[in-house]
Symmetry: C2
Subunit: 322 residues, 2 copies
């Protein structure tokens, strides 16, 4: 593969939910649709009230469609909660926040799945209907379910994350369904492209959002075997997780909450690393360990920030942008 | 059975949707919970977007819970339509109106059915959660689906009723699943009670709302065999159907649009008949055919009207009220 071909080639982004969705949106702003495939974690997916809910696919979809709620930080904008309130009156569970607009997504997905479509097909259909030109693909069409071992028991991800608000101490994370979950067809096809230029690991939780993707059959080996740059954007800013349980989790798993721990987690996989400007002191140490390090503003407040970070990331691995 | 026991005995009401729900609400206002069973048409039920929707059970439930929208005349009050709007953006069907609060009912019912509950169990659960003390029971736990033969083809009920707005000419009505649909357990138990005092046929469409109930296995014979008064409230007022396609349907089926046609439809079943005060001229002719006729105000604008009509109906068949 010549450098020139690689430079204008295809990019595969691995994304979890909100943080990943922001960078995915930035990448979509600077790469033509045929140059980007966003492969999304489905380990958070769960069945709730008979609906198949895919929180990370939804976060990426809402962000790309411009429908995400920037104030709340999750879910759909202009949202209301009448169905959820009524579900409560009907004696049904209310612990998982389901807005009325969001509910439509779960209803449409669930019934299309029951009609026999794969998660890939449903996702392509629904993102297409929302006018999203870039490919959003689940990591796998086979169900993978993340579970967290706490002091008392294994908890499914949403029980740990939403119902228990990440309060239990986490001892271990596992991904039910792996091995046995194949790469989704479009994901595999994107990775098999002759013009594959780079793989971007978005700033998502390495343990809870990226590891499930890496647990898909043969994926980690396949990524390394591609021989293209793999660049990870650290989810830490100023030595802390911007949101979510990453900081707490690192401690509970016996790691330090710093970029060294994140880099070690991706050792042997990502040779490129993007850290926030507040952590520029970490750069030398990381470079000494053999990584190519880019210091950038990784906090993405708005579209400009998202696009700017996407440009930095792609520039770091020599990929041309529009 | 002594007249005294009968007088304070149990009443079974057969109800379709909105009109039936109004009288059912009136009956519930004047009969203690242990004295009334409301058996509801399920021929209108259908599967839509993966949800099991039971329009008549919902109309009765919302009316009894005081949640019905009196202005719109159907559905839930304080309703919004965000999920439906989003379903449209997702390329899904919007022809059947699904409000956000209403959606919760369909979601709860559908997932409980998938979990293995019967429609009777789900209905008891959901009406109970809404504080409804009276028994609301489906006519059958087996799916019955009303279909209307038009000039072109058999249409399922909701396609005929909602999507086609009853515009096609109706030639015939049939109830898929019958024979073969047994009475729901609570319905059969209510009819088997020693203290059964009367059966009330609510002012619902005889062809589209009451006939499916009568098509339940053995029901028509069982009702007659009880030997208790059966009283039908005419759905016509001033020689016209208050709402819905009844008037048009009567013509298409070769009947006249008057109380004679309704009475003939229930011949051999209902010996008592309630007609509206605007149709008092019909009384003599109906009496001459051997019916016991009560003239009353059958339009129910408010709770007083509903209770008043319920009292007239029960009084006509010698049933005590509170």
């Amino acid at each position: 593969m010549s450098p020139n071909r690689a430079n204008s080639g295809h990019v595969v982004a691995l994304s979890g939910g909100v943080g990943g969705a922001k960078l995915a949106t930035g990448l979509a702003a600077v790469l033509a649709p045929e140059r980007l495939t966003i492969a999304v974690n489905t380990g958070d997916d769960f069945e709730h009230l008979g609906l198949t809910i895919c929180p990370d696919i939804d976060s990426v979809t809402y962000a790309l469609a411009g429908l995400n709620d920037p104030t709340r930080g999750w879910g759909v904008q202009d949202e209301s909660w009448k169905a959820l309130e009524m579900l409560g009156r009907l004696g049904e569970a209310q612990w998982f926040n389901l807005g009325d607009r969001d509910m439509a997504m779960h209803i449409a997905r669930s019934w299309r799945l029951r009609e026999g479509e794969t998660l890939s097909q449903v996702t392509a259909r629904l993102t297409g209907e929302l006018g999203i030109a870039h490919a959003v693909v689940p990591m796998s069409d086979a169900p993978v379910r993340t579970e967290v071992l706490t002091d008392t028991d294994w908890l499914d991800f949403q029980t740990y994350f939403v119902a228990e608000q990440c309060k239990p101490i986490a001892r271990e994370v596992r991904f039910l369904g792996t091995p046995g979950a194949a790469q989704a067809p479009q994901f595999a096809q994107a990775l098999a492209r002759d013009d594959l230029a780079a793989i971007v690991i978005c700033p998502s939780n390495p343990y809870l959002s990226v590891d499930p993707i890496l647990a898909v059959d043969g994926l980690r080996k396949a990524l390394v075997a591609k021989g293209v740059p793999i660049i990870a954007v650290s989810p830490l800013v100023g030595g802390k997780a911007l949101k979510g349980p990453l900081g707490k989790l690192l401690g509970e798993l016996g790691k330090t909450c710093d970029n060294r721990a994140i880099a070690e987690h991706y050792a042997g996989l990502a040779g490129h690393f993007v850290i926030d400007q507040l952590d520029s002191d970490d750069a030398e140490d990381l470079r000494n360990s053999g990584l190519c390090v880019t210091v950038a503003q990784t906090i993405m407040h708005d579209a400009d920030d998202r696009e700017s970070l996407a440009r930095e990331v792609l520039s770091a691995v020599g990929v041309e942008v529009v």
